[in-house]
Amino acid sequence: MSRESSSRDQWSHLSGIVWQLASRVGLVVGLSLLIGWIAGNMGWWLALGLGTYLLLQLRNLWELDRWVRFRSVLHPPDFSGPWGELTAVIARIYRRKQFHKQRVANLLREFRRLTSGMPDGAALLGQHNELLWFNQKAERWLGLRRKRDVGIRIENLVRYPAFVQYLERGDFTHSVTVLQQGVQQHWLSIHLVQAEGSKQKLLIVRDVTHEIRIEAMRKDFVANASHELRSPLTVISGYLDALADDTELEETWKEPVREMRRQSERMRILIDELLQLSRLENSGELTDNQRVDVCGLLSLLRKDVLSLARRPAEINLQLDTDVCLSGAETELQSVFANLISNAVKYTPPEGRVDIRWWRDSEGAHLSVADTGIGIAAEDLPRLTERFYRVDAGRSRDLGGFGLGLAIVKHALQRHDATLTIDSELGKGSKFTCHFPPERITARAYPAVAGN
């Protein structure tokens, strides 16, 4: 609506200008004709009048041209009539444009000021990873130089091999952490963000030295504390063992001693699991890869479960392949043992547990499915956290500490494997480990026929 009216305004302005122009030309023609009629020689007078008018217009045009070119917007030339109106329109357009320009410039300056005060470093990268812009923090942490480094590829200046690899891989879901050596060591976490369809990338860099130190302290504390707790416990349980076997022990003391033995055994298991977990966390990448016979391992574990007094009626083992894995045997053994003992623990005696080992184009897989109590969907994401228990009271009765799945997760990570959990409350759960094809090794000798 307003647009229509403004366009009508424009038309009326334009027609006003045209009308003014036409009336002026008419006036000049009329005047020249009148003087020519009085003085005789009408043609000459007409030519003279129009010529003068034309000269005046040319002069106006020249001045207008000069004004537009040199843009002294605030001082438009003083014209009368249609030229004046035209200059007013042009001046108005200029002023509006300048106002917008000023606003954008202010916005940009404000943005720069804000980003330079940002706690994180930020840099904008172009199509070929060349630096387009970066703030002060990025300048300091990545060793860049203002202005001079714009246009240089980021990987030429930030040369950490881990970062270059991250940049080349093109998968920016996680960040990469690099160690900056210098007078002081700094751990930098670098994250790239790329919007869908955009060729530019945003680089965000953060100093995570503090977090890494705290993490290291926590790991050291757990490792040291568990280690220190173990030696006194060995002494206590040793004497308790001797006491329990003592035939001369008074009858009233027998039950308390048995209970003390059970509890000290529980504590020993907890400390062992903590130590195992901290070993998994602290040891770097897997170095001693050996061939692990998964089929043999699973058969042994099944036999152990079958000998338990309280267990589900059916324990099925299905071996579709006889391939082996390359990795650390003790770690893989604890992964499988934890998964199977969890399934056995949470499945009632009339239920069943299915263990399956198979191979496809994506790698090798192991699944442990049970018909137990199942896990609610909201508990699934937190299941592999340390000491996380869906129902603390129940799992303590069954002798669990909430460390088993944390151990499974860490050991699998070290073998480049992933864990998926499917579960439904009341129906049962299915834990599946996926090992990549690089981890599969052929058996040295053919397996004995049959499962």
């Binding site: 001079r148 200046l157 950490y160 210098g182």
Partner: protein
Amino acid sequence: MEKADLSHHILSRFNADLERLRTSVLQMGGLVEEQLANAVLALVNGDTAAAEKVVRNDHRVNGMEVSIDEDCNRILATRSPAASDLRLIVAVIKTITDLERIGDEAEKIGYIGSRLATMERPADRYREIKHLGRAVEQMVHDALDAFARLDADAALAVAKRDRMVDEEYEAIQRQCITFMMEDPRSIRRAIDVLWVARAIERIGDHAKNICEYVVYMVHGKDVRHIRIEDVEEELKARSSSAAS
């Protein structure tokens, strides 16, 4: 019109080739920097595993040298570059040789570090080595930055720092001799420390060489075996005469 487009296309591909060459040299540099830093850190911390990892990773540096060398030969054969492009390629061929040597020295430090880790550690915990190592790491880093930025002034500033490294090496040498005279049982360890200091000092020399190639690349002037002050004066005179 079509012809012009074609030549433009070839040129831009040539440019892309050169740019990729520069990037891969700097990536090799990044790997060498990390190797050096890890080697010195492993030695100072007495970390055998980290030191052995440095030794194991040296083949990656060697592999990169071979592949970049091949790229240079291919560009020389197919594009026959001239002027600054030719200077870039010559500088690259020389730079990767020096980088590879730095990698070898880092490997040596890692090797000695894994041996020193099993011995008794001195009271100062290799503080001098750590300090010298930091200085040289920074030199390598700044030399590569100058290479990336084509910054001849920064390159000269880095080359000047080599003298300080040499002095510090002398100091460590004297200190080791004192140790050996005081306590003959420490001779074995002191010799190892001397080897490490020597390796670090050599790395400083290689970093200086890289800086000289940067000056060559930018100004087309060979500045090897000339005092740095003379080079600076000549470059200044040249730029002022060019300006006037």
